[in-house]
Amino acid sequence: MKPASPFLELEGNPKVPVTFDGDVFELPLGANLAAALLAAGVQVFRHTPVSGAPRAPFCMMGACFDCLVEIDGVVRQACMLEVTQGLCVSRPGTGEATDATE
């Protein structure tokens, strides 16, 4: 179910499913990932490793690192990524460290 979002989308684009922390969202293909998640109603992207405080995108230009999410075990900036088909995103630090054996 789509939570009410504080953000409005001006255009409708073709959407693809993206998983964020277990929930599936339909996000516009090729859109900026942080923008798409915000528009889809995601309010908290991560919790800080220092105090656990909630954070969400702040600068949208790759400078503040408050939009960090985890994809394939790597923590990355959502505002520097684009939505792709079947993307699987989680909040950082929630998963166990995985061993890369390849």
Partner: protein
């Protein structure tokens, strides 16, 4: 490894113009930008977006297509999505693209990495729902995403531009909470002479304000005691205006009180910087051409000191002309002839700056915030912590790093550096210049150990 005559970092107006100009003189140029498409901050994604939202964003935005078109036509090698994380003498530039690290070398570097919004640490500024106004604008520009219930807080022309764009997009901000005072405008009037030379900017400013006023967006001028309320999310902005306490409930707060040069890359190369009192920030020390003290290293655009998009474009070309001369593609006479008109119009475009700096000064309480306010967002260090470290003998920000970790998180001080310098300067009764700034080291932005390790060559030629 391919040796370039010029490596340009940043594909905003400065970088695009420089790369295009340099290529036209026959230089081998590589342009890198971490964004997936050319444009920089002002012309973000202009090629994809201009047709969809050009009327909302305005002519100053769609103009960017001239530059992206010129760049494409020039045949410059443009590596998109390439995040530069290290620049070493020589020059050796390391970057990550598509999850892999790579390296190029060049005899000249032009840093065109632009500006950052001045950090605005007010109580509550780390809450979800609080963003920079530029972030709000990027959401609109690049993605067509607009905050439904937003309050714009701060000062400066960019604040009005964003408000006007939101009005045109059909969702005006709920209010403009402005920190400049009528006294500021009175002081600025002394620089009106210079401002008149930059009259097109004034006309644009008046038009933007008219758009905002016509849409009946409430404006609160001279606001103080600004704070953001909310538990897990921004819920309201509170402030005082003319002695009265106000509270505006909202979902989104967009903060802005000016832009400052992004000096990370320049500092990593030990380029000397000086404090600019007018712009209240550090700027690199440059010659007319954008040359730094470091041989072969140039800086253009807002990273060289705030001048705006037009000045950035001209400065990019000026630097490129100088570099073309340095590599023997232009004679000194040709260089000077080609640069002269650009140097003249850059000067007249810059004339508006002293007026703007005085009319829309930074919000003082956010330059040296109260004790409880977080200044380092990454490591959650407060202004009070910094003052305590000053009491323990920290004269400069590199000592406070050791004492309390400010500037040691992933943003590497981008959003706390100026605040920490200001707090230490105030506590130690020193100037910002004496206090200094963080020492910036590679990686300029985080890079995975896996990417780094892939570059591990057991060859003995290694750097030193």
């Amino acid at each position: 490894m391919q040796q370039n005559d010029l490596i340009v970092i940043g594909a905003g107006p400065a970088g695009m113009a420089a790369a295009t100009e340099a290529t036209s003189h026959g230089l081998t140029v590589t342009l890198l930008d971490e964004q997936p498409r050319a444009g920089g901050q002002i012309y973000r994604d202009v090629d994809r977006v201009a047709d969809k939202r050009g009327d909302i964003l305005g002519k100053d935005f769609t103009y960017g297509r001239t530059l992206t078109g010129g760049l494409r036509a020039s045949g410059t090698t443009h590596l998109t999505g390439a995040m530069v994380w290290s620049i070493e003498d020589g020059f050796r530039v390391s970057f990550t693209k598509d999850g892999r690290a790579a390296q190029i070398t060049g005899s000249h570097i032009l840093l065109a990495t632009g500006a950052l919004e001045r950090p605005m640490p007010v109580p509550g500024w780390t809450l979800p729902g609080v963003m920079t106004a530029g972030a709000g604008q990027i959401l609109l520009k690049q993605s067509g995403v607009l905050a439904r219930r937003a309050v714009l807080v701060g000062s400066g022309p960019l604040l009005y531009l964003i408000a006007a764009q939101m009005v045109r997009a059909g969702t005006p901000p709920m209010a403009l909470v402005e920190t400049q005072t009528r006294g500021d405008m009175a002081r600025a009037m002394r620089d009106i002479g210079g401002a008149m030379r930059g009259w097109p900017y004034l006309v644009k400013g008046v038009r933007m304000l008219a758009t905002i006023i016509r849409a009946r967006v409430p404006r609160y001028v001279g606001a103080t005691d600004i704070a953001i309320e909310g538990r897990a999310q921004a819920e309201a902005v509170t402030f005082n205006v003319a002695g009265r306490a106000k509270r505006i409930a909202c979902d989104t707060v967009l903060l802005h009180h000016g832009v400052v040069p992004n000096t990370q890359a320049a500092r990593s190369l030990d380029v000397p910087h000086r404090w600019d009192d007018g712009q209240q920030c550090f700027v690199p020390e440059l010659d007319t051409w954008g040359g730094t003290g470091v041989d072969g290293l140039f800086i253009a655009g807002d990273g060289a000191g705030i001048g705006g998009a037009k000045v950035a474009e001209m400065a990019g070309r000026i630097a490129a002309i100088r570099i073309a001369e340095a590599v023997g593609r232009l004679t000194v006479q040709q260089r000077d002839a080609r640069a002269a008109p650009l140097l003249r119009s850059r000067a007249s475009d810059n004339a508006i700056r002293p007026f703007l700096d005085k009319a829309y000064p930074a919000y003082q309480p956010a330059l040296t915030p109260e004790d409880a306010t977080i200044v380092c967002r990454c490591e959650e260090v407060t202004a009070g912590d910094i003052r305590r470290y000053a009491g323990l003998g920290c004269l400069g920000p590199n000592q406070t790093k050791a004492f309390g970790r400010p500037g040691m998180g992933p943003c590497q001080g981008r959003y706390c550096g100026l605040t920490v310098t200001a707090l230490l300067a105030e506590a130690n009764a020193q100037t910002p210049e004496q206090t200094g700034y963080y020492r910036i080291r590679p990686p300029l932005k985080p890079v995975t150990l896996g990417e780094l390790a892939m570059m591990d060559t057991p060859e003995p030629d290694a750097a030193e």
